[in-house]
């Protein structure tokens, strides 16, 4: 019995040994990305293939989840050591740093990176003076408009202020061109917070003051009031309250929205005649401002790539991140997401065919307003999502809803 057992062990060892050489020749890293907005899944796969071609000893396993699953999947995988590289949103470094999810990579960032990358991009990955990754997707919400519909309505220029946007939408509605001209992503999700933050920045509001909620009054309240008025006056597509960004894109591409707030990626997608009814009619400008308060408005919707503390191959992971965020890679795939590198915005190879987008980006990216930096962000965001939807549905007055959110925010 014992003998046969030891023979079995020997057999197992031999089989194991047969696999070892291969395992040594190839390091394999797991990376988590999102299948939504910014770079498409096809783009990320192509970039990753280029990386493996240049580094044949590193194998990259890619996984894609919807944005809504990205945070939870990252955190849950920590226990099992699932991912080496994760994509993270600008709102998570505080929490990830406090809970030791991401590795501090400050010492890995070179001077060339520091000099070349747009200064604003670093806010995406920094928390408490340390860097937890490389910025990768530099993004904000722009105001997209349908040039044909504006022309039919006799409107010369896209709106410069949010009030002007409402006036123009009213003209379009009254002329019978569209019943509900504006589309937003106000589903009970982070997307709604991004639209809200854009308006908060326009009205000069503040999320937190000395670590305590400050959105219940001033600009924070003005922002929600604007949303509610736009919704109840019938200028906003009522389905907005169950839309995510992809729904907004589909509505806009079908020519059913004169105005829409969305990320960079919509520009080239809505301009693709294969998929879009409004190709060639897509206008894009920075989101408007508020008279006397702001010229333009913008939310920081950037994302970065970081190494998890569970990774056993941080060097290979960093190599991969460096490749994905390099200027060469980003310039090559600059259609759905714009580069983090300052000089790219002057490079004809990048700007060609999307001059309007680049012009809007130069202003919009410089005006990016952050969502609050706090380890309790998820709770705050969940409470605010509820407040926004309750106000839209008329279940609560905006001031009461925001007060409730402040109490439930955990701050």
């Amino acid at each position: 019995m014992l003998k046969s057992f030891s023979r079995m062990l020997l057999g197992a060892a031999l089989i194991g040994a047969a696999f070892v050489p291969q395992a040594f020749a190839e390091t394999s890293i797991n990376a988590l990305f999102m299948a939504q907005a910014a770079y498409s899944e096809a783009d990320v796969r192509a970039m990753s293939e280029a990386f493996t071609k240049a580094n044949p000893d590193i194998k990259v396993n890619l996984e894609f989840v919807p944005y809504e699953g990205l945070h939870d999947k990252t955190v849950l995988a920590q226990g099992s050591g699932g991912y080496d590289v994760v994509l993270f949103d600008v709102i998570w470094p505080a929490e990830y740093a406090s809970n030791n999810v991401l590795v501090d990579v400050s010492s890995r960032i070179t001077d060339d990176m520091k000099k070349g990358v747009l200064p604003g991009a670093w806010t995406t990955v920094n928390y408490d003076g340390k860097s937890y990754g490389m910025p990768w997707i530099l993004d904000t919400k722009y105001l997209f408009y349908n040039k044909e519909i504006l022309e039919k309505a006799g409107i010369q220029n896209p709106p410069k202020t949010w009030d002007e946007l409402a006036e123009q939408a009213k003209i379009i509605k009254d002329k019978g061109l569209l019943a509900t001209p504006i589309s937003w992503s106000w589903s009970q999700a982070e997307a709604a917070i991004c639209d809200y933050t854009t308006l908060v920045s326009a009205y000069g509001g503040e999320f937190l003051k000395d670590g305590k909620p400050a959105f219940q009054s001033g600009g924070g309240l003005d922002a929600l009031n604007y949303m509610v008025t736009s919704y109840t006056s019938g200028l906003t597509n009522p389905n907005s309250k169950e839309f995510l960004e992809e729904d907004v894109r589909k509505v806009f591409q079908n020519g059913e929205a004169a105005f829409a707030l969305n990320w960079t990626y919509m520009y080239n997608m809505a301009n693709d005649p294969k998929d879009s009814k409004v190709a060639g009619k897509v206008g894009v400008v920075p989101a408007p401002g508020v008279a006397g308060k702001s010229e333009v408005s913008a939310v920081n919707g950037s994302m970065g790539l970081g190494i998890t503390t569970a990774s056993k191959n941080p060097d290979e992971a960093w190599k991969f991140i460096t490749f994905m965020t390099s200027q060469a890679t980003q310039n090559q795939y600059a259609k759905l997401s714009l580069p983090i590198w300052a000089s790219s915005y002057e490079d004809p190879a990048v700007t060609k065919g999307q001059e309007e987008l680049i012009a809007a980006a130069k202003i919009g990216l410089a005006a990016m307003y952050p969502r609050p930096t706090t380890p309790k962000y998820q709770e705050l965001s969940t409470a605010l999502q509820q407040a926004i939807q309750e106000s839209l549905l008329g279940q609560a007055k905006p001031e009461d809803a925001l007060k409730g959110a402040a109490e439930n925010s955990g701050l």
């Binding site: 929490e95 009970q188 969940t382 939807q389």
Partner: protein, 294 residues
């Protein structure tokens, strides 16, 4: 063979299963109980002992009471509808007609579909801009304009219940259909000779054979419906304005989104307790029903 040897043998035969059950269900359960008395975070800190604080906080919060009501509504209505639909479908499929075998096989399809696929499918049907339901209802004139089924609090839960029913009534139908095979033909024939109408036949001849199996279906479905998570998470994520947030979603948010493993565990145990109470009550019912028909 003596009785004690029978008992020993039974335990011995069950031992492998028991070992597996204790390690994959028992141990995590014990650990969850331990966690529920701490302020542990999901990652990072192990947490300190906080007594019943988590339980007190969870039970007194307005979120808990509201989601309990939502969950109860969801469970009661969807299970009731599934039972009625399931029995009706079973009675139909028990008739002799051409194509019966094909229909019986087709009926299983919704139930065999992964819940996430089912949820995605219904989300497309309910889509406010190009959904099939809106198109169908406006074309036959029942609706003036397209509606946002999942975006309005008064329709969102109902829309979810319909989607859940469509997926789960086949299970009830399957159980009922199997039970119907046990109804002796001579009794139904005799009742027809005696002049019993279809309703009376169902009530006095067929139903007694169905009660036991249907109670089992009721137990299974109620427990499942009470724990509902995936179909809602995919379709509304608990929105609009948390009107479709169920207990399981609340547990998920607490434990995973907010990373408070301690209070999340206490909430999960409260839900487990509620489901256990339901299960025990039902089990008593089943025993009673079994006793009365035997």
């Amino acid at each position: 063979m003596s009785g004690s040897w029978m008992t020993t043998r039974a335990w011995l035969l069950m031992l492998p299963l028991l070992v597996v059950m204790v390690s994959v269900i028992g141990w995590p359960l014990v650990d969850t109980v331990r966690l529920s008395f701490t302020d542990a975070k999901l990652v990072g800190t192990e947490g300190n002992f906080v007594g019943f604080d988590n339980y007190a906080k969870m039970l007194s919060g307005s979120n808990f009471q509201r989601t309990l009501v939502t969950t109860t509504w969801f469970a009661v209505i969807s299970v009731a509808a599934e039972m009625v639909l399931g029995v009706l479908a079973a009675l139909l499929l028990n008739q002799q007609f051409r194509g019966r075998t094909l229909l019986r096989a087709l009926m299983i399809l919704p139930w065999a579909l992964p819940t996430v696929v089912n949820a995605t499918l219904w989300r497309l049907i309910y889509n406010p801009e190009y959904g099939a339901l809106n198109a169908a209802l406006t074309q036959i004139g029942l609706l003036d304009a397209y509606r946002s089924w999942l975006g309005e609090p008064n329709t969102a839960l109902a829309a979810l219940i319909v989607a859940d029913c469509w997926k789960n009534f086949p299970l009830v139908a399957l159980i009922a259909l199997a039970a119907l095979q046990a109804v002796p033909r001579d009794i139904t024939a005799a009742s027809m000779v005696d002049g019993a109408g279809p309703l009376a036949r169902f009530r006095f001849v067929i139903l007694p054979y169905l009660v036991g199996p249907l109670l089992v279906a009721l137990v299974l479905r109620t427990i499942e419906a009470f724990k509902v998570f995936d179909i809602i998470w995919v379709m509304t994520r608990g929105g609009p304005a948390n009107s479709t947030r169920t207990l399981s979603i609340l547990v998920y948010q607490e434990a995973f989104s907010f990373q408070r493993a301690g209070s999340g565990a206490s909430l999960a145990l409260i839900v487990t307790l509620l489901v256990t109470v339901l299960a025990v009550a039902y089990a008593a019912l089943v025993r009673k029903a079994a006793g009365s028909t035997a």
